[in-house]
Amino acid sequence: MVTEPVGLSNNLPIKRVMPARVGDTDIAVWRSASGVVSAWLNRCPHRGMRLSHGFVRGESLACLYHGWQYGCDNKCKYIPAHPALEPPTTIQTMAYTVVEKHGVLWVSLDGTPEIPALFEKLQPVRSISFNCSNEDVLSALAETTLTCDDGQVLSASDMQSQNILILDNPQNKPKLAVLFQKSSAANVTAHLLADNSWSIDGLIRISRWCELVRRRAEIKIPDNRRNL
């Protein structure tokens, strides 16, 4: 199974938890106070509450519902209703492999992270979700172009692999990378990274450009090639 990008590192500060999807699987990704990242099935072993609604306490994630706490080793550490009890070590969350690389959080459900060779020194721009298929997004992308700060016009024809769309010179210096996280036939999330040639206004232009792509991908109204 392919390793999926599930979010940008800078969107998961320490002591925070976020929801994500890998295929059909709902997961909770969280970062402890000391910075350890874990990715778990988004179901509390107690009564099934989404763990992404919980809160981080130091090196544990506490479930919002009855406050059971789970440590970075996935084991239950504390049950508030029975404070004196040492929870049995069999109570644990369903954990997946999570790796942080290139400013992106990658999750593999089957334990073998295969992170695509990306390029160093890209900065996170944003994540954006689409209510349409990956094909719709790719075809909308193919119809739009994006102008760099130096006037160069990027288009999607530059390079395309299964999960990553690299705009500009694929050999060594991409100006923009779009990583696709496919959760279902009707839902895709894209994570965008840019090189350091973009000014703040340029990064904002990228953000608006992907909103344009989304409008077109979701409505699928044919339009003339447009540029932002």
Binding site: K15, M18, P19, S52, F55, R57, G58, L64, R126
Partner: protein, 217 residues
């Protein structure tokens, strides 16, 4: 007491005022109104006070205010001595804030309506309310994303303003209407920042940031 508030605990609009009062650290008189099931906001007495038949209603000095935007501006002008929540002399900022105050009523008419449907079984065109609710969430997400790229965490400028207070309740309560925050990382960070404000108060569906409390309590 600084003002009197006709109040309903589950109302996102009443919560704007309660939240801002908490953040400013001011006390007020709260008069509980039986909005559901009593429909007390449509009673003769309250309709005399507010012919629009909505909550909240604020009695502020000699004024009767029935629009939350007006209430937030009045509260900021009167009680925020630093003038950061409503920087009255900054034309660009106040204009941008009023844009978001206007937008906040779109949140009431989309997410707020969908929530009345889900929670109180109100007769609402639910599919349209939800679809428009997603459009509204995406607008906030886009603005917060751009602010983040500029290095900011708030809807307008570099510090929280009444624009954030006005938009917060129905964005935070969207899951009540079935609109989860999963697809909106910038919104999640902003909700967290607002919940971390000193003086923050909760309402059903919006809890405090537990990790800011001491371990073990």
């Amino acid at each position: 007491m600084s003002f009197k508030l006709y109040n309903y605990v589950l109302s996102g609009n009443c919560y704007k005022v309660r939240l801002f009062a908490g953040v400013l650290g001011i006390n007020y008189d709260s008069i509980a109104v039986d909005f559901h099931p009593g429909q007390e906001h449509k009673s003769d007495d309250l309709m005399q006070l507010n012919p629009a038949g909505t909550l909240p209603i604020m009695i502020a000095d000699d004024l009767v205010l029935t629009e939350t935007s007006a209430m937030l501006i009045w509260m900021a002008s009167k009680f925020d001595s630093d003038n950061t929540w409503w920087p009255a002399t900054d034309a660009a900022k106040t204009a941008a804030i009023v844009q978001w105050l206007g937008f906040s009523s779109d949140l009431t008419s989309t997410i707020g309506e969908a929530r009345l449907h889900t929670m109180l079984n109100r007769d609402v065109k639910i599919e349209k309310a939800l679809a428009d609710g997603i459009v509204a969430l995406r607008r906030i997400e886009a603005q917060l994303t751009e602010q983040g790229l500029r290095g900011g965490a708030w809807l307008v400028g570099e510090s929280p303003t009444i624009a954030d207070i006005a938009c917060f309740p129905y964005v935070a309560l969207a899951p009540d209407a079935g609109l989860e925050h999963d697809d909106y990382p910038a919104i999640r960070n902003w909700l967290y920042a607002i919940r971390s404000l000193s003086g923050f108060v909760t309402m059903p569906g919006i809890h405090e940031v537990h990790e800011l409390r001491n371990e073990g309590d």
